[in-house]
């Protein structure tokens, strides 16, 4: 790899690392797994760097690669949608016995409620809020239309906001 390519690669890495990392971390919920996946994704980018013809689509490429890795991880860990739902129900029951003090922590409440979303809804939300993808990019990454992404995201956000408001005692 030439030195100017290395510089460009480094710029892209620092520009997109947070988007990829937070997508993977929020999806897997495991720090170690997230770090391994992010490393694999950037390693693949490094290997294919010379062959990439559309640098403006790097973020889309990275998120798609991260998405594949995350779903591979789910397959390996047998964390399918059904398991996730069961787990969510378990979390729901655990949540009810937690202290009032913890509930008042906004960050904990938001993250908890986000975790309770079904995996496909959580993915859309994370791609938009953490990875900063446009509706168009999310539609491409998930294989749907832009309008459908917009409408689904509104439903997800509304549901999330209402649940959070309920937790922190705000009347909506």
């Amino acid at each position: 790899m030439k030195s100017n390519n290395l510089l460009f690669f480094s710029q892209l890495y620092h520009e997109h690392k947070k988007a990829v990392y937070h997508y993977v971390l929020k999806m897997t919920g495991l720090q170690m797994a997230a770090e391994d996946i992010v490393q694999n994704v950037f390693m693949r980018l490094f290997e294919k760097f010379g062959t990439i013809k559309q640098p403006d689509r790097i973020r889309y490429w990275l998120i798609s690669a991260a998405r594949n890795e995350v779903y591979d991880f789910f397959r390996k860990e047998k964390l399918r949608k059904e398991d996730s739902l069961e787990e969510n129900q378990e979390l729901q029951s655990e949540h009810s016995v937690e202290s009032e003090f913890a509930e008042l922590e906004m960050k904990q409440v938001v993250l908890r409620e986000m975790e309770l979303l079904p995996i496909d809804q959580k993915e859309l939300f994370v791609l938009r809020e953490y990875s900063g993808l446009s509706y168009e990019e999310i539609a491409q990454a998930t294989g749907t239309s832009k309008e459908l992404v917009k409408s689904r995201l509104f439903t997800i956000r509304q549901k999330l906001i209402r649940n959070i408001a309920k937790r922190i005692g705000v009347k909506i």
């Binding site: 947070k18 490094f46 960050k107 509304q158 999330l160 906001i161 408001a165």
Partner: protein
């Protein structure tokens, strides 16, 4: 318009995606609807939380990722770069021949210098022996003290 629609406007407004004609409607509604006002403040609060949460990135991961890359990403020396250069074959042969010829000339010159040095050393040795012989061959001179009566 229902609260549900205004809540959609809130999200569009926060993403700078709400058309100007609907903005006034939204603010009018917010000034009179407690539910949507609460909804708006919760959305803002959640967005702030998400923004702060999204800033975290483990510093050690940078090191972990870059150290895992092949060594090609390290800056090579000029010397090592020379051996990794892709040159046409004829150029490689020419460079090799030049190196061999220069090496031979250098070796010959070095031998000449070595012989000259050896000869010079021999000459110096002979000169030293001659000086020693001359020194020993010189007659001994007796020195008598000068008497004051002879004056």
């Amino acid at each position: 318009m229902s609260c549900n629609e205004y809540q959609m406007f809130i999200h569009q407004f926060l993403e700078n995606d709400l058309e100007i004609q609907f903005r006034e409607n939204l603010f009018d509604h917010l000034s009179s609807c407690e539910t949507c006002k609460n909804y708006f403040s919760t959305v803002v609060s959640v967005q702030t939380t998400l923004r702060e949460d999204g800033q975290e990135f483990p510093v050690s991961l940078n090191q972990q990722i870059f150290s895992s890359f092949p060594k090609v990403n390290e800056k090579g020396t000029h010397f090592s770069n020379f051996f990794t250069l892709k040159m046409p074959a004829y150029l490689t042969y020419a460079v090799m021949i030049i190196i061999v010829v220069v090496g031979m000339l250098f070796f010959n010159q070095l031998n000449k210098y070595k012989e000259e040095l050896h000869e010079t050393a021999l000459q110096l040795k002979e000169q030293k022996q001659t000086i020693e012989m001359l020194y020993h061959a010189m007659p001994t001179i007796e020195v008598h003290p000068v008497s004051t009566n002879n004056l």
